[in-house]
């Protein structure tokens, strides 16, 4: 079966696209799927840092598009999981180097060898972001419970429905999922943060997962480890649940209630 192309997109920057792309890709690989995660953020490469392979980058996405390197020279195999590959992008070129026909050729080559192709989109709605979402079969809309993020997500959902390859060719529409990140049940209880139901109602797309605001996310990026490898952390577990739902399993949403920190935990301050 040829690979499914999944884009993580948001419109707004800083909501957790790269963190989520790394976590979802690693989660799919942990479940036994051959998975590649591609950085579409040409010029602002960061996926390599989040995946912890920044010192192993030799060739990149743009080199392969331009025919200067072969795909298997540019793909970096993850050291923690044999099913997981990282496809870094160029740090020196600009977004115009992402030619649509070149991207299509590279994706087609990968489709035969992988189960899932995860595209980490840049922020914005310019060429880079449009190219990242263009070939998607599935879109995960990464959203923070905050007004500007929700508004930008709505805009991106509109773009997926009109400018993607599936929309332009009158195919079945892109399957769209909501991934709510940096959710703080404590602040929702105080009436300071949009609740899950509010965001779901406003965007009216199905909910794939809710990732609680968690110290483990920063710890994971500090060390270049996708947060699902820290499977004791709430965020890691929430991402693994989201991956299970993506694979069609039923999982109850967790970490939606304010956490009761035990006396012991508050002493040592670990979440």
């Amino acid at each position: 079966m040829p690979a499914k192309v999944i884009v993580l997109t948001s419109g707004k920057g800083g909501v957790g696209k790269t963190t989520s792309a790394a976590a979802v890709a690693a989660g799919l690989a942990l479940r036994g799927n051959r998975t590649v995660v591609i950085d579409f953020d040409v010029g602002l490469r960061n996926l390599d840092l989040i995946m912890g392979c920044e010192r192993r980058v030799v060739f990149d996405f743009i080199n392969v598009i331009n025919g200067d390197a072969k795909l298997n020279q540019a793909l970096i195999k993850d050291r923690r999981n044999d099913n997981l590959f990282i496809f870094p992008t160029s740090q020196t070129r600009d977004k115009d180097a992402l030619k649509r026909d070149g991207v299509e050729r590279v994706l087609d080559e990968m489709r035969e060898n992988f189960d899932y192709i995860i595209c980490d989109s840049p922020a914005g709605i310019e060429h880079g972001a449009i190219t990242a979402l263009y070939f998607a079969d599935v879109a995960i809309i990464v959203t923070n419970p905050e007004v500007s993020s929700v508004r930008d997500s709505d805009r991106i959902i509109g773009i997926l429905a009109s400018k993607s390859r599936r929309a332009e060719n009158n195919m079945d529409p892109v399957e769209v999922h909501l991934l709510l990140t940096r959710y703080s049940p404590e602040r929702v209880d105080k009436g300071e943060m949009l609740a899950i139901a509010d965001v779901k109602e406003i965007l009216s797309i199905p909910l794939l997962g809710v990732i609680p605001e968690s110290e483990s996310v920063l710890r994971a990026s500090n060390t270049g480890t996708p947060v699902v490898f820290d499977d004791g952390s709430p965020a890691g577990q929430a991402y693994l649940d989201a991956v299970a739902r993506l694979l069609g399993e039923e999982r109850e949403m967790r970490f939606l209630k304010p956490e009761r920190r035990s006396f012991f935990r508050s002493l040592f301050g670990r979440a």
Binding site: E146, V147, D154, V188, G191, L194, A195, D198, I202
Partner: protein, 119 residues
Amino acid sequence: MGLLDFLFPERRNTAAVARDRLKIVLAHERASREAPDFLPALQKDLLDVVERYVEIRGDMLHVNVGHSGDTSMLEINVELDGATIKPIKNGAAAARRAPVPIAVPKPDPGSHPPWVKPG
């Protein structure tokens, strides 16, 4: 609740404010996103035509596409409140002349239509 609001006035439910603001702004943005591309051009053309006959500002002419069920309706609204009619000559040529106020015909008691009996 009232006492709490009085004691902590800034502690209101800001999430509800966020939700309501989002609903309103997204309703507007979705409507304009779904509108056909030709609407701004159509609005400009209509304005040019109407301007030949009536003094009108850009914001007095509205073009919208409404949907109900499976029918779409092109809706054109022109406000004429306080507008002045220009002298009718050959279209655009008249537009350059000074407009005259709308002439309201005064009733002339001596000329009734044949079917109205003079009172």
